[in-house]
Symmetry: C2
Subunit: 142 residues, 2 copies
DNA sequence: TCAATAAATGCAACAACGTTGCAATAAAGT
DNA sequence: ACTTTATTGCAACGTTGTTGCATTTATTGA
């Protein structure tokens, strides 16, 4: 697994995606990479030294478009965001992982999965699956 | 399969859920039951004779709480709603179906599925799965 | 059937979340 | 260092959804 939690990696990530490296973007990226789970904007906001709502929205938008982060939408929850583990780009965010929400600690994890399930539906052509699971996470499953 | 598309059924549904039957609610219910796919509020709005934004929101909320409809949230899309096919209630909306979005016609279907996949994750306790699929629907899969 | 009661509706006002135009500022390329 | 290009931040706006309150409608039961 690639190391994704240091400043050198951050800057390279921005460079590799062809977006200019600004203090704001680096800081946001560091916040994301510090967590090993998905986080809502409210957390990013709190952790930012200098917070500007509009710039944050625009930063998130750029990161989404460039495949740096992906968005996790669970009904009734704030949107959550997490760093992309695989190589993603604007069009394709194919992840071999599921999104797991712990009922107890409410954390949302991106969980890698090796045997990704397949579904066949008569008359339909299924091309992609997105799976959200709920239950108890590693920490809460005592 | 139960017949879910006539006025008698509608009224019984409202009665059985212990909510009073008003013209507005009956009309909304008829719109939902007329479609065999999930629809956003914009469609409900257009089909209503007399549309009131606030009353619609409140109606939707009640229908959700009573397990008459369920909400389908797909990232980047308007929320969609569909009549519940099984017996649902406030707490439990367990459906043995997936949500399928057709890439071509953009329709979102609730598709019943008999062999619902299972997932096991080391150290996690997986209790529930929610699956969203994309591809081509019956009509577009030529 | 009709009055009493309880619930739903609709208006105004508000709040959260997100976007856009534009001027000021900072980063990149030469 | 200077020019060009992109980002930032402010003000203003749009959309989605909510709440308080008065009015209207549905339900109950005498
Ligand atoms: Mn993920
Ligand atoms: Mn459904
Ligand atoms: Zn947990
Ligand atoms: Zn289709």
């Amino acid at each position: 697994m690639q190391q994704r939690c240091n400043k050198v990696f951050m800057v390279n990530l921005l460079k590799s995606k062809n977006i200019s490296e600004t203090p704001f973007r680096k800081e946001v990226l560091e916040i994301f990479s510090k967590y090993n789970n998905a986080i809502p904007l409210s957390i990013v906001e709190k952790e930012l030294k200098k917070y500007n709502r509009i710039t944050l929205y625009r930063t998130i938008k750029v990161f989404l478009e460039k495949g740096i982060i992906h968005k996790i939408t669970i009904s009734g929850e704030d949107s959550n965001y997490a760093i992309c583990q695989e190589e993603c780009n604007t069009d394709a965010h194919r992840h071999q992982h599921i999104h797991f929400k712990c009922k107890k600690c409410k954390t949302i994890y991106c969980v890698e999965i090796n045997e990704f399930p397949a579904i066949t539906l008569p008359n339909y052509k299924v091309e992609q699956l997105e799976i959200q699971a709920t239950g108890l996470c590693e920490n809460c499953n005592v």
